[in-house]
Symmetry: C2
Subunit: 330 residues, 2 copies
Amino acid sequence: MQGQAAAAFSENLIDDVLAGRRRSISRAMSLAETTGSAGRELAAAIYGHTGRAHVVGLTGVPGSGKSTMVRVLAQNFRRTGRRVGIVAVDPSSPFSGGAILGDRIRMLELAGDPGVFIRSMATRGALGGLARASLDVVDVFDAAGFDIVLIETVGVGQDEVDIVQAAHTVVVVSAPGLGDEIQAIKAGVLEIADIHVVSKCDRPEASETVVDLKTMLKLGESGRHGVGEAAGWSVPVLATSAQNREGMEELVAAIDGHRTYLDRSGEIADRRRRIAEMRILKTAEEIVRARILGRSAGMMEALVGRVAAGRVDPYSAALGLVDQNTKPTD
Amino acid sequence: MQGQAAAAFSENLIDDVLAGRRRSISRAMSLAETTGSAGRELAAAIYGHTGRAHVVGLTGVPGSGKSTMVRVLAQNFRRTGRRVGIVAVDPSSPFSGGAILGDRIRMLELAGDPGVFIRSMATRGALGGLARASLDVVDVFDAAGFDIVLIETVGVGQDEVDIVQAAHTVVVVSAPGLGDEIQAIKAGVLEIADIHVVSKCDRPEASETVVDLKTMLKLGESGRHGVGEAAGWSVPVLATSAQNREGMEELVAAIDGHRTYLDRSGEIADRRRRIAEMRILKTAEEIVRARILGRSAGMMEALVGRVAAGRVDPYSAALGLVDQNTKPTD
């Protein structure tokens, strides 16, 4: 459907990504993050080489301990001989740059391991498209032969929830004693978890948090049906302490178990469809946005002025732009 | 630009909104939240009656105390005789339903006042469009004669940051001792603040947080330029305790002062343009999404299957959908 003849990247780049060359992986990711057609065509070409990696999304509010969890989890997967890619979409993550010094130093343990590759996403892009870009970056990891891709997102924000839902296995991390966090989870993230993890289980309030989550899961069962639960997956609640390496092997086992479940039950096909739909829609939105801002910058500028002055409403302006500026010309 | 003859709402509804009838305001907001054409046409008609309200965005992570801040701030604005609309886009807000019992009870103080109207937004819409819908709801408040519209959003998430940036005045709330929160602010929310508020200033760590924020602002001045700062607005850092009503009058004065500054400096025009651009783009994206999911559901379903199976990439699929399904037919 898409002409690859005009690709603005060398064919070698894809070969080098497939061969797992780190510099090429970085370059491909940088290109995939852009909104230009070269980036889109690269992502399109990469897509054909994906489908092997197990994509695991980890989410939790700042302070939930999910960054430490990601780091220790990566080390545990490494011990089973698997290569691990990390996509950090959380501005408070040490992988993304927002972290106290201790976190950064501990992160270096990972950085020295050639079987681990960390990519942090800028979460304040001028043109949006964060979900689209993050998942194209996941594809580069997949194509480059990484066995496990961990996506770290903060547990609030629509785009962030969309991103984590594009994983095969969703892990929701809760810290004991964070009352507000439980509230936030109640309000939307609870039902997307395939696995619940309570971090910092050395704290006395941890067992209470475990009980709270289990109670919520039971209440949820009678009312609505979670994605995993309806099809026969029983969402576990695991108590862990990444710092003391407690419960981490159980978490690896639960993640692997969920993947086995997806494959055996055939639910993996539903997940792939859900992910495909979301990615198509996000990409379509980005195409429209880029065309409006690119091709019809003049028309857009005039419309912005008229909307700002209250002479045209945003809906009529948007409708005109969509109708007149989404026709293909190239 | 848009035919209003086919509007699926009565002309009375708009008159009743303009007259400030509460039931009609609720109905108009519910309609504005939908993605159908009736909702869009209502929003388009409402837009012509807006432009008077002062829209104030408050953002901060869960636990920052911004919900209490919103409540007390509303009461303070009421004391100056102004009518206050509240749009809660935070799943952990007591206004949105995620809150401990005490918060809910304290919220009732507001609910009994006819000069206050609270609207909470569902943050997990199946079709997205949260920013578009939130700002259409703000318009309904504006058209209905509310003087102040407070938008409460959580300080993370791309959509949430977009929403709060659509306010005339952006207030960023930080709690003392929330190390991670400061990190999150550093990573993206710092530069959008017109006013910084440190909550819970009765805590000993509060003065440290004030100093931290002031230091960051100074560092920011030398490097990049914030929206307000570049044009001559000096971003204040206010220590408050909403619980003890400390610093709340200063906050009201700062918000009013910022509005005066915007008007006198002419910067209000730039803000209106920035808001208009964002709203046009968000609405355009929603139109494309609705058309793809509505008109070409069959084509979409087939494409989802092919993308899920790895036979087509998301970019080519999206491109085909945009090109073939954005032509106007109605």
